[in-house]
Structure formats: C-alpha cells, structure tokens
C-alpha cells in the first residue's frame, strides 16, 4: 500500500520533470542544431554561439525591459534582425576567409569571438551602466502556470519555448525539403566533397547556414532566459556558457554532423537534466553537484570519451579533426650567425635596461606588474609545451594553475610547511591529475581534445573548488604567504621578483631541453606522422602522458607563484576557465612554439591592458577583450604565431638588405598567405 503510493509519487515527479525538461532541452537543441549547421558547412566549431545567444537576449533585454519597447518589436529586432545579420557578418568578414585553415585554428577564432563579441556589444550599448536585472521571456505573462492533464505544472514560457523550437525544427525541415538553398545546405551537410564536385555555389550555402544558425542561437538566447536557472535574472554572457556546453554535448551525440540527432539529443539532455535534479539523492555531495550546473560538463566529457560514434569517427580519422600539420622550422634555425649574435645582443641590452629600471626606479605598482608578467610567462610556458611541442590544444591549463595555487595554500595552511614546498607538491599533484586525465582523452585529438579538457576545467570550476580540501574553507580564508627559502626572505617585492625570474629561467631552460631532447623528438615525430613514429618505436601514449604531466606541473608552479605574489588565491579573478580560453588564444596568437613566444605572451597579457590601453589610450578595460578577439582571427593566417611571422619577415628583409641569400627563409617569407594556408590545411 505505502509502496504503491510512493511509487506513484516517484512516477508523478518523473513525469513532472519530463515536462520541465523538454523546454530546456528545446533550447539546447536549437544551439546544437546551430553547431551542426556551421560545422558541416564551413568546418567551424563555433563556440561563439554562446556569445551570439547572449547578444540577442541582451538586445531584447535592452529594448524591452530597459527601453519599454513592446515585446513584438523587441523580438523582431533582437532575433529576426540582429541575430541573422550577426551570423552573416561573421561569415562574410571572418570565416569565409579562413576556409582552408585547420579545425583547430577555427576553434581558436571562435574562442576569441566568444570572449570578444559580448564585450563589444556591451561597449556599444553601454550595457553595464546598471545591473542587468529582471530579464524576462518573450511571452506576455509568461509565468502563468498551467496544469497539464490537470496535474503537471508548466508555465506559458515553457510551453512557448517548446512549441517554438519544434516549429523552428519543422520549418528547418521544410526549408531543407522545399527550397533551393535548403537543398544545397542539406547536400553540403551530407557530403561536402560531392557538392563541390557538382559545382554548388558554396558561398551561398555557407552564408545561408550562418544566417540560419545564428538565428537559431539568437532564438535560443531569448527563449532560455525564463527556463534555465543558470541564466538567473541577471543577464550576463557567462550564463550562456553551460548552455553552450550542454548543446555541444547534444551535438556530439550526433557526431556534430547529424541534425535530427542534435535535435533529439538536445531534448533528451534537457530531460535528463531535470530528472537528475529531481531524483538524485541530496545527501551525497558529489551526486548532489550533478543536480546543478555541473551536469552539462560531466555529460559532455562522458559523451566525448565514451560515445561509440565519436570513437569511430576519430578512428576513421576525419581530416577535419586532425591536428594541424607541424609548421616549418623556426626562423631562428635558419638565420645566419651574424643575425643570431645581433639578436642576442639586442635582447641582452633590452633586458639589462628593463632590469636597471625595475630594480632602481620602478615603484611597487610596476614591480608587481612585472612580477605578474614573469609569473604568467611561466604559466604560458605550459601552453608552449602542450601546444607548441605537443601540437594539441588543451583548455584546462587554468585548472592546473589553480591546483598549484591551492596546493601552496593548503600545505602552508594545514601543515605549516614552506609555501615553496606546497607549490611543488601542488605541481606534483597537477602532474598526476594531468596524467590521469590524459588516459581517457588520449585517443582524442584536435577539437575533441580541446573540448574534453574544457569540460574537465569547467567541472573543476563548478564542483571541485567548492570542497574544502581543494578550494579551502571560509574559516581559513585563501591567504598565501610569501616564501622563505634557505634563510632568504622573499617577502619584499623585489626579492620575490628575483625568485620568480629565477624560476622562469629554470622552467624556460627546462622547456628548451625537453624540446631539443628525446622527448621533444618523439613529440615532433608523433606530430609529423603517428604511424611512422610508432614504426620506429615511439610509444605514443607515453609521450602524451608526459606532455600532459609536464605542462600541468609547469602551469601549477606558475599558479602557486601567482598566489604568493597576490598573497592569496584569487580564484575567481585568475583561474576561471574562461580566463583559460584567453590564455590559450594569447599564447597561440603570439607564438606557442618558442619559449620567447610564451614570455612575450606573458608580458603582453599583463602589461598591454595596463600600459597601452589604460594609460596611453585611455580606453575602457573591456577593449582588451575586443582586441583579443581580433588577434585570435589573425591566428588562421599566421598559425606559427604573430611574433614568429614578424621575425621571419624582418629576417628576410635584413638578410636581403645585407645581400645574404638564405633560400629557405626567403621561400618561407615570399608568400606568407600561401604559406599560412598550406600550414593550416587539413592533414592527410
């Protein structure tokens, strides 16, 4: 008797969660279909859909809530006008021109846009002039509750979201079936090569699918506002990130190529989300986390790693998914002796001047900025190892840095050991975590690896940091002391800077040694041809574990130093996964292949916004995100990094000026455009 009552209760809860999950899933499905559309028609894995969804939602908010426009006109502008135009602009101005670039290069561009677009939007409409509170849906009286079958509560907003999405999917199906553009897009989605052979106008297909997908993203943006709690009532771009991740998981279910699977996957994941929220036990901490925003990350990670279709696709080696082929030798390897000496003297003179100024004249503010640059240079060397040497992209470097920072903090707080020892312990833990993480994601490459590591970073951010043994307790705070070492006190700014420089030099030398030694050789071989590398005895899994661990340890050392410099772990400010996207892009854009590149990225990351933007140009801090987006776009043209590109160019000029013929360099620089296209072209 009681059992059956209980069962009835559970059943009722399940059904209720099902109806609540559908509208959420409908939003996921819209974004998931957008992913599929642009991925298949232009090979772009567009993480910037989150930004596009935000822009539509924020436009609607600006017009309807803040300026009291009627709903219909605000929707018309935000979704029917702004979203498609934005999609068209992105396609025309950016993605059309990087068609030949590798999938990874395109991913970097979309990361740049993900950060830059919302900031640009906010600057243009002065969105942050007050807190964007009180976002509402696009349905009048949307919160009115109806009872399905007399029992299950659903709001008007939820019904509308579901109905609109199904209508949109049906309209898309009709478009594919009955219009010329639709037929062409469908043809391209099914077989890009075939349609190229048949001479279908690829430009229109590409523009069309960007317009459509951006419209979908915009629609999802406004529809999801009232239905997902992660957006809350304060409308900020970060709120769309979990949604994009869930949509990504849905799209991944269809291997990013199957539209119906994306639609269905979105709905299913929406329902799973609400079912989990309803049924997971609340007393188990880890399971309880799955109730909240951690779920999309776990789902995404699990789908990428375990979903058989993806495994098969990777085994089938879709050329779009491959890592970009290794770029040509560094300019430094082909420059003449005179040039090398000249460059070294210039560098020495520069560093001496900076050193004299820093230690003789700079005030504490600038010393602290310079220390930050040095520390970020160390952190960025971890990206040099992973991306420059390993040829892959990981988006969880922030997590490793955070582990280093928390390691230093925890060891100093709990066991009263030297904070340096704590940092090293943190580095060891990060290396171990990196090694463990490398095992499931080992077989992945290119964008799948990037996304899986992003999911991991988000999981750490959303779940693990909340544990006392990771992120520390409120009671203890997150304070971190400056170190004492061998009787030397490093608590003064200058002393600590010296320590950081010493560690940077150590790590830099370490990276060069690894690059030039057996490990680096194995990595270069693997990057060139995995089959051939294995045929000479390279153990690919071991090399990958090493890359993960070494780069994680380096990031953790940097993270630990950063905490000491700031005398606390400023987790939200420094180690947010979205900051990690920023890190990656700045390093690969400037040059991930050399230690110099990492250091220059560190300096640019810290000094540029402070000095150039703020002091010289007097621009708002948000401009740095915008500029960053533009910088990311340059990556497709210069995958070797802007610095390396500039170096080659100037080297060729100088050598021409000095009358020295260096055929290799001349050839490399003669056609930078052609050069870039072939470097990033999809591998065999």
């Amino acid at each position: 008797m009681t059992a059956s009552v209980l069962a009835a209760g559970v059943l009722e809860e399940t059904i209720r969660a099902f109806f609540q999950g559908l509208p959420i899933g409908a939003g996921f499905a819209l974004v998931a279909m957008s992913f599929v559309l642009t991925y298949k028609t232009s090979g772009v894995f567009n993480l910037a859909f989150g930004a596009q969804a935000f822009i539509s939602a924020a436009t609607y908010f600006e017009l309807h809530v803040r300026r009291d426009w009627p709903i219909w006109s605000a929707v018309l502008v935000a979704v029917v006008l702004v979203a498609p135009v934005l999609g068209l602009l992105l396609e025309r101005l950016i993605f059309r021109h990087v068609h030949a670039a590798s999938a990874v290069a395109k991913l970097v561009i979309s990361l740049g846009l993900l950060v830059a677009l919302p900031e640009l939007f906010k600057l243009i409409v002065d969105y942050d002039r007050e807190q964007p509170f009180g976002a509402v849906g696009i349905i009048p009286d949307g919160t009115t509750v109806y009872r399905l079958f007399g029992r299950y509560p659903v709001t008007r907003d939820e019904i509308a979201a579901f109905v609109i999405v199904i209508a949109a999917a049906l309209a898309l199906a009709a478009l594919f079936r009955y219009t010329r553009l639709g037929l062409r897009i469908r043809a391209v989605v099914q077989s890009p090569r075939m349609t190229e052979l048949n001479g279908v106008n690829a430009d229109w297909v590409s523009s069309g699918s960007w317009i459509l997908s951006s419209f979908f993203a915009g629609l999802a943006g406004v529809l999801l506002v009232p239905t997902t709690s992660s957006l809350g009532t304060v409308l900020v771009p970060q709120g769309y990130f979990p949604i994009v991740i869930a949509a990504l998981a849905a799209a991944a279910l269809g291997r990013l190529v199957n539209l119906p699977a994306a639609l269905f996957g979105g709905l299913v994941l929406g329902v799973i989300t609400t079912e989990m929220r309803t049924h997971l036990p609340r007393d188990n901490v880890i399971l309880n986390e799955l109730r909240g925003s951690a779920l999309p990350y776990v789902m995404l990670f699990a789908i990428i790693v375990f979903w058989p279709a993806i495994r098969r696709q990777i085994a089938g080696a879709d050329p779009l998914l491959g890592v970009s082929p290794p770029p040509p030798a560094l300019a430094a390897t082909s420059r003449s002796r005179g040039m090398t000496i000249y460059t070294r003297i210039m560098a020495l003179a520069f560093f001496t001047a900076v050193g004299i100024w820093t230690f003789g004249y700079a005030n504490n503010f600038w010393i602290s900025r310079i220390t930050h640059s040095v520390i970020f240079s160390i952190i960025f060397l971890s990206i040099v190892v992973f991306t420059g040497l390993g040829g892959q992209i990981a988006l969880c470097q922030v997590t490793f840095a955070a582990i280093g920072a928390f390691g230093a903090m925890q060891f100093a707080q709990r066991w009263d050991v030297s904070v340096i020892v704590g940092m090293l312990a943190g580095a060891a833990i990060a290396a171990a975590v990196g090694a463990v993480l490398s095992i499931p994601v080992m077989r992945l490459g290119g964008i799948w690896l990037a996304i899986a590591t992003l999911a991991f970073a988000l999981f750490f951010h959303d779940v693990l940091v909340k544990y006392g043994w990771v992120g520390g307790s409120l009671f203890h705070g997150r304070g971190v002391p400056r170190p004492q070492l061998f009787g030397v006190d490093f608590s003064s700014h200058k002393n600590f800077l010296i320590l950081c420089i010493a560690i940077l030099v150590l790590v830099g030398v370490l990276v060069i040694l690894i690059r030039e030694s057996s490990t680096g050789m194995a990595l270069r071989a693997l990057r060139g041809s995995e089959t051939a590398a294995e045929s000479i005895g390279v153990i690919s899994w071991r090399s990958r574990v090493i890359v993960f661990s070494v780069s994680a340890a380096i990031a953790a050392i940097g993270g630990g130093l950063l905490a000491m410099e700031e005398k606390q772990v400023s987790y939200e400010a420094n180690y947010d996964p979205q900051a990690g996207l920023f890190w990656l892009v700045i390093v690969v854009v400037l040059g991930a292949r050399t230690v110099e590149g990492g250091i220059q990225a560190g300096v640019a990351f810290v000094i540029f916004p402070e000095l150039i933007l703020d002091r010289w140009l007097g621009l708002h801090g948000a401009w740095r995100y915008v500029l960053f987006g533009f910088a990311a776009i340059s990556f497709a043209r210069h995958p070797e990094g802007l610095l390396e590109h500039g170096k080659r160019r100037s080297q060729a000029l100088m050598q021409r000026a000095f009358g020295r013929r260096q055929p290799a360099v001349a050839a490399a620089v003669a056609g930078p455009e052609v050069d870039a296209a072939s470097e990033t072209g999809d591998g065999p």
Binding site: P328, L510, S518, R524, A525, T531, A532, I536
Partner: protein
C-alpha cells in the same frame, strides 16, 4: 628457425577475406619478395606483420617469440623496421632529424629525467652516425634540408634510412617503387641492394613491380585474392607459367 614467421594469417574485412591462411617465413639476412597484383592483400598482410592490423586468425612470431598481440612500437623495438607505400615522413623536421629521432628512440636513451638535466641533447657522435648513413645512401650533404624539399625517390631513401637507424634485423618495404619512374626505381633498387649487402639485415620486399623483385630477391611469395598461390626461389617463381600467365603477364616477358 626462421627470424620472422607468419603462420596461417587470415584477415577479413566486411564481406571479403583480404588475406586467407597465408604462411610466410624469412630468415635472418635473407632477401624475400612478396608479389601480387593490386588488391591481392599485400598491404593487409604487411600490416598484420607490423601490428597495425590484428589478424582474425594465425600468428606472427619474431625470433621465436610470439608477437601477434604486441603493439606496433614493441615490434619496432624488437627489430622490425618498415617503409610506407604512401610516404610517411615527419613534416616540419629536417632530413637528419628523421634519422636522429629513430636512433634516439631505438637506443632507449629517451628518459625524461635525462632530457631535463641536459643529457638528452643530440651528441656529435650521433650526428656523425646519421650523416654517415645519409652519405652511404647517396643523400650526403642533405642532412639539413627540410624534408619537404626532397623528391619522392629521395623521400623513400629517407624512410629506408630512418628504418635502418633503429638497427632492425628485418626491414619490410611496402611497394618502394610506387610513384617512381623506371630510372628512379632502378637507382633505388641498386642502393637498396648495396646497403643490404653492407648491413646484412633481412628484407621483405612487397611489390607489384615484378622486375624490381626479380632483380634482387632470393625467394618470392606470390599472393592473389588473399591466397598464397606459389613460392620458391625467385627465378623459379618468375618462370612458373601459371604465375606468368595469370599475374605477371607481359611484364616479365617484356623484361626478359
């Protein structure tokens, strides 16, 4: 006891049996050919020997050890070297780097801790060794060239050199003549024969170019539709009327 033995190898793909119960054996220092028309299953058998494919039945043994389930790199480390039908080089690396990598990895000196303390950098003796091999393959002075700058024939030689730097006891060559013209093939064959005579490694030459196989192998296996149809001393096989009629046709007739 033969060095490399394939015993009853069978490999099926959806619908077709690409390799059907094939036995081959190769002694140390021996030059053996494996011929057959396109689609006969040569590459498939080859990949089963190397571990890129797992046979559905049969076993592979090397030096008396059963290696059927060993991964590719373990076989390489045991002393099986190979080249590729479609050239597989490490783009972005110099010619010498290819040899250096192979030497380094084979000699097992690649521990991370050695790298970190600076013991992993290329040594002058290693570089000398690489250049000596390049020299003897007729690639002298090309060590610093980027690999992309080489012709196909030279690239094949680099593949051979790369395999040789792992000090293999047997080298498996997959259609080294493909993509080369007659003159290039002849030059390659001469170089191969010479270096084999110098170093004495065993060699399994997989080819559809019968002339190349006839020119310097001692024994030959003939594969067709996945089945071994005959084998024996190369001259006998070449004379075998069945082989000539069915698979070699005018090729041999024209060559003789």
């Amino acid at each position: 006891m033969s060095l490399l033995v394939a015993d009853g190898i069978t490999k099926r793909f959806a619908g077709i049996t690409a390799v059907d119960d094939v036995h081959i054996a190769l002694d140390a220092g021996e030059r053996v050919g494996l011929i057959g028309p396109n689609g006969a299953g040569k590459t498939t058998l080859f990949n089963c020997l190397l571990g890129l494919l797992r046979p559905d039945a049969g076993s592979v043994s090397f030096d008396g050890q059963n290696i059927t389930r060993l991964p590719v790199y373990r076989r390489a480390r045991l002393g099986i070297g190979r080249t590729f039908q479609r050239v597989e080089l490490f783009s972005g690396s110099s010619v010498r780097d290819h040899l250096l990598f192979a030497h380094r990895i084979r000699s097992g000196t690649g521990a991370l801790w050695k790298d970190v303390i600076g013991l992993g950098l290329p040594k002058p003796t290693e570089i000398e060794r690489c250049d000596a091999l390049l020299e003897s393959l007729g690639l002298g002075g090309m060590g610093d060239e980027p690999i992309e700058a080489l012709s196909l024939g030279q690239s094949r030689l680099v593949e051979v050199a790369r395999a040789l730097m792992t000090q293999p006891r047997v080298v498996l060559l997959d259609e080294p003549s493909s993509g080369l013209d007659r003159a290039e093939t002849t030059a390659l064959a001469e170089t191969l024969a010479r270096i084999q005579a110098e170093q004495g490694f065993g060699m399994l030459l997989v080819e559809h170019d019968v002339e190349l196989v006839a020119s310097f192998t001692e024994r030959t296996y003939v594969l067709d539709f996945g089945k071994l149809i005959t084998h024996g001393p190369t001259p006998d096989v070449m004379r075998d009327p069945e082989v000539r009629a069915a698979y070699l046709g005018d090729f041999v007739a024209g060559a003789q």
